[in-house]
Symmetry: C2
Subunit: 350 residues, 2 copies
Amino acid sequence: MARKVSRRGGNIVTIHDVARHVGVSPMTVSRVINGEKNVREETRAKVLASVEALNYSPNLAARSLATQDSARIGLLYSNPSVAFLSEFLVGILSESSQSGAQLLIESCEGPEGATAALEKMKANGCDGVILSPPLSDSSRVAKVLRDMDLPFVGVAMARPDPQVCCVTIDDFKAAFSMTKRLIELGHQRIGFIKGHPNAYASQTRFEGFEAAMQKAGITVDPALVAQGYFTYRSGFDAAERMLNCKDRPTAIFASNDDMAAGAVATVHRMGLDVPDHVTIVGFDDTAMASSVWPELTTVRQPIADMAALSVRLMNDQIRAKRLGKPFEPVREIRDFALIERQSSAPVGTA
Amino acid sequence: MARKVSRRGGNIVTIHDVARHVGVSPMTVSRVINGEKNVREETRAKVLASVEALNYSPNLAARSLATQDSARIGLLYSNPSVAFLSEFLVGILSESSQSGAQLLIESCEGPEGATAALEKMKANGCDGVILSPPLSDSSRVAKVLRDMDLPFVGVAMARPDPQVCCVTIDDFKAAFSMTKRLIELGHQRIGFIKGHPNAYASQTRFEGFEAAMQKAGITVDPALVAQGYFTYRSGFDAAERMLNCKDRPTAIFASNDDMAAGAVATVHRMGLDVPDHVTIVGFDDTAMASSVWPELTTVRQPIADMAALSVRLMNDQIRAKRLGKPFEPVREIRDFALIERQSSAPVGTA
DNA sequence: GTCTGATATGTTAGCGCTAACAAAGCGGTC
DNA sequence: GACCGCTTTGTTAGCGCTAACATATCAGAC
């Protein structure tokens, strides 16, 4: 008898409490909790009932200590589209709270600043890194990570790199679908505002646009293709130029929401209406899309889902590395969605 | 000899490795790591050198298991201004990765949906909850939490409630300062767009505006005070009404950035310029503020800092509760900052 | 009946860390 | 020198969980 002192906090329910309550060993409870097979169905049911009754929830700290796979995952972002970032983080958090991963977050100024941030992470005992765009697309960052021998997963990469483990949507197909939808609405003169020339996504999205136009037998008028830079201002300017054409477009497809919002502002400034005179659509479904008026029709990436998936891939990769097993890079492609709001309408409504 | 099997993952550096390297006991290393006093300066230095040399970083899982204060902190948000949310999460993450807290994130649809979310959190073994606005201001949510006996911390609450532990800025003072700044720029006819009538922040900000006007001896023209709802559209409409006044305002102070952006759009639509004809300023410094053109002059809350602080307060509170000690609610007030961008200028520039 | 090979459960020890206690070291006081 | 109180270091055990091994149970085959 007489353990000297109990360090037990107080009323915390442990696996032992459940075990005692059911009349089995803690190990059996553990097996049930972790969904292992080789537990009699009857026993499993009793344990689950007790878990419910006692309101037991496992101590993740103890678990990761015992299993030795407490992954410390670094999150690196730069230049964030804030809207993207919040959804990204929500996805990461909800997944990692289940897997019990620790998170380390760092920001950096573009790919150049990444090295310092990554070194800091490594020094803090990071086991792997998840990259948000645009870093996920940077071959420079990828090289640094490989040199450091740190596993990584890219989220929303536009450039297909078979070497790299990532979660994305199909930008080409998404742009294709949006364009197709505009054509279905009767639009023929469709303007396109490209994204930043450095971003792979820009090119891919433009190709999707072209392909859809070509498939519909519509020639793309070079006067209706403008270079943008993903900024509100660049969308504003690009739209102005297009709308001053003799034969102005009835629809404008901007490669992201900020530029689409800028385009909306231009249309309004010229005394025209969206969507009555001009349909405007964006890409990304950031906060911008539903903040402006009229709200933007746009393409949505399931960012939170993608982020959550990236955590799972990261865990798999870290585990594989610990066990010295090889890890096959995976490219997971998620479905996008066309979100139709008030900024688009059939041609010639006004 | 012959421990049966080592379950050690592999190359992980532990406190024992450091201890052996220095030639002291693990406990001494632990003391150094945790910055306890009663360690000889010489010993401390040697330990720190070894920590550095071996690139040791403590296993948070083991620590929280041993200390029994592995806090599981719930984050509840609703209706998020995405820009707010991302900064909030960044702050929370960077702090909690240091304290080793586990995070659980849930969203809900306004205060009504909060109960379900909170019950889910409690069932998942949550020890306390951090509330982001507008939930932090909801007395309903506060009541639910008190009934559940869950500690909580509110971030960016506008309503001072001495019962509640929170981190905020002084909305009154912030609105006062911004108004004062506008007056310094020579503006006299200043319009004010209020926020949603349900939000306490709306009232507080308006009071700050009034006080500054009064102090400068300027009468507030009721025609230049409009009810808004924190949405782009409401700012758009409110500004339109004001600008159609016979004697139109030279500046408009909107209670948040979305409404300010809406006001900018109205100004442009009327063929006027920002800031040459009308100065427009916002509040919050969300992504919106630097996405639109011209970029908005606004008031910034140090959201990430505030969020990080809320985690510390939460940890303190949880620890106090575990030890059965009383916890005095704290109200921490952080400094705001006036961010001057291109949407404001001295009066009469054009 | 006994042996085989499965499945189901229990036992032991240890993951890395620190709370609590124990002991050693050190200076000063009477 | 014996005693006190203080600082510094060490020892032990245990936080809650699970890997690995050990054992029990059972069905079926010969």
